[in-house]
């Protein structure tokens, strides 16, 4: 069951144009996830980040600490809920956190896509999945 909270929904709200800007971010996160699967987490931490993000930088280090997914979820939720970000910036941080959880769980590329695409809005999620797949020269999911 997916929970819903009015205050959180308000905090996450942003324009369609802003949501569309998530597409390249999601593409980049997929590259990071591919690297994590191919090389492990430690080289990712050591390398210059592809995306300048505090959440990603420290989140990868939390993954390397081997926390359970449940603990990691709770900790990332505290970071997000107590931050002062709102609107698109907050949405972006949530997408980073979602990607971190997927990397920590060892999710496949397809699963990561399915988890991140809905952040662009339910209506756009499907077209995003198709667009991202064709970009990567793969079959639609």
């Amino acid at each position: 069951m997916i929970l819903w909270n009015a205050e959180l929904t308000k905090r996450l709200s942003c324009s369609d144009k802003e949501k569309a800007a998530l597409t390249p971010i999601i593409s980049e996160l997929m590259v990071i996830s591919d690297k994590a699967r191919a090389e492990g987490i430690k080289p990712l931490i050591a390398a210059k980040p592809a995306i300048e993000s505090t959440m990603l930088t420290y989140g990868l280090r939390l993954i390397a600490e081997g926390l359970s997914t449940e603990a990691l979820e709770e900790i990332l939720a505290v970071y997000l809920s107590t931050s002062t970000f709102t609107g698109f910036e907050f949405l972006k941080q949530c997408v980073y956190a979602e990607a971190l959880l997927a990397i920590a769980s060892g999710d496949s590329r397809e699963m990561l896509l399915r988890k991140l695409a809905p952040y662009c809005g339910a209506e756009k999620a499907f077209s995003l999945l198709l667009a991202l797949d064709s970009e990567n020269g793969e079959k639609p999911l």
Partner: protein
């Protein structure tokens, strides 16, 4: 997914009667104070950046975590003593909840009923929120490292490094106390064989989760554990893994540890057929040579033999021969073999096993035949009577015949 824990965190932080998020933020943005040693707030939080309060909160978390560590090591009396000496209401109350083993779901309402939380605006309750989170995790018996990371998440990422350093100082010396436990299995050989593809090893670690990884490694030599740590864990992660391994060794039976090894091994080799995986290619080095029928015959022979006979044969067996036989045995047979011999003999066999190299099918067959002959000579009566067959159960006779008739 992050959305559910985020909803829960929002619901509790910004619940009824509290200042809405936007208003808090506007109020706090006027503050120009910086946290100690920080030039820039890399993760601004609703709790602001008053340096004095910030230091107090951090010290509060450290004190709580050290108290929980002593409680987990020494028991409830230690926590009650800490509670008695404690002056701060928040800590005292948190310890009392933990000492009474209250349900986790009750923690927040207990703090509220006691008037320690829920009265002020969210941004003024940083320490209470930290202690509620810490208490909930302590009741779930979480490791103090996890508790500290969760409590200090309320202070933002700017303390991440200093907290990590402090945790290593506090918890980095426990490894020396570890005893070695060896459960025979393939994992110690397989993991280094996958070294050319660390991504897949770390992927298997993530998929397995900390508990299975710890249980799988609990029966492995120290070198295997250290090797996996170097691939997949940070220094702090390594400390946490060692702790999980210690717990697995104390709580799980050797059969369960062996099952965990097998499960993790299966996960590692499940990547075999994935395109681009180097694992499949490396896997061919050893297992392809193993004759499954021979493995089955040796394992069944060990399982079917009378305990007295087995003990007698193994105790007189050269440890190197026993070690090579173990290479061609299923884990359940390892258990029976080791449970039937003295610990000093087990140690010699395990030492020989560590020093052994994979054998070809022919060599394994030859050693299995030597073993079968020793079994026969153990069963044979000392004063030979011609014309009488040996007192052998049919199944054992069949297995011995199968092994000895191999070419």
């Amino acid at each position: 997914m992050i959305i559910n824990p985020l909803c829960r965190a929002h619901r509790t932080l910004y619940r009824r009667g509290r200042v809405p998020f936007q208003e808090q933020r506007e109020g706090k943005q006027k503050t120009d104070e910086r946290r100690p040693n920080e030039q820039k707030d890399i993760w601004p939080t609703i709790f602001g950046s008053n340096p004095r309060r910030f230091v107090v909160h951090l010290e509060s978390a450290k004190r709580f975590v050290l108290a929980i560590r002593h409680y987990q090591m020494e028991g409830k009396d230690q926590l009650l003593a800490t509670m008695h000496d404690e002056r701060r209401k928040l800590h005292k109350f948190a310890y009392s909840i933990i000492a009474s083993s209250s349900p986790v779901d009750y923690v927040r309402s207990a703090f509220e009923i006691a008037g320690l939380s829920g009265k002020a605006a969210a941004q003024d309750e940083c320490e209470a929120e930290m202690l509620i989170t810490g208490t909930q995790l302590a009741l779930k018996n979480a490791h103090p490292i996890v508790i500290m990371r969760a409590m200090t998440a309320f202070l933002g990422f700017s303390v991440f490094d200093s907290v990590g350093k402090w945790l290593i100082e506090q918890f980095g010396h426990d490894e020396a106390k570890d005893e070695v436990l060896i459960i025979p299995g393939d994992l110690p050989e397989i993991i280094p064989a996958k070294s050319t593809d660390p991504g897949l090893v770390t992927q298997a670690v993530r998929l397995a989760g900390p508990q299975l990884v710890a249980a799988a490694l609990a029966g492995c030599p120290r070198e295997t554990i250290d090797y996996l740590k170097s691939l997949a864990y940070s220094d702090l992660g390594g400390i946490l893994l060692d702790s999980d391994i210690r717990i697995a060794r104390s709580r799980l039976s050797s059969e369960e540890l062996s099952d965990a090894q097998s499960a993790f091994l299966e996960l590692l080799t499940s990547f075999q057929n994935e395109p681009g995986s180097a694992m499949g290619r490396e896997d061919e080095d050893w297992p392809m040579d193993v004759d499954e029928d021979l493995v089955s015959d040796i394992s069944n022979l060990i399982l079917e033999m009378d305990e007295h006979v087995l003990r007698s044969v193994i105790s007189g067996l050269d440890p190197k021969l026993a070690a090579s036989l173990i290479q061609a045995m299923e884990p359940i047979a390892h258990d029976r073999l080791f449970s039937s011999i003295a610990s000093n003999k087990s140690k010699k066999i395990l030492d020989a096993l560590e020093a052994s190299t994979p054998l070809s099918t022919n060599e394994l067959t030859r050693r299995a035949q030597i073993f079968a002959q020793k079994v026969l000579s153990e069963i044979a009566p000392k004063n030979k009577t011609l014309g009488k067959s040996l007192p052998l159960p049919a199944k054992v006779r069949e297995l011995l015949t199968s092994i000895l008739s191999r070419e």
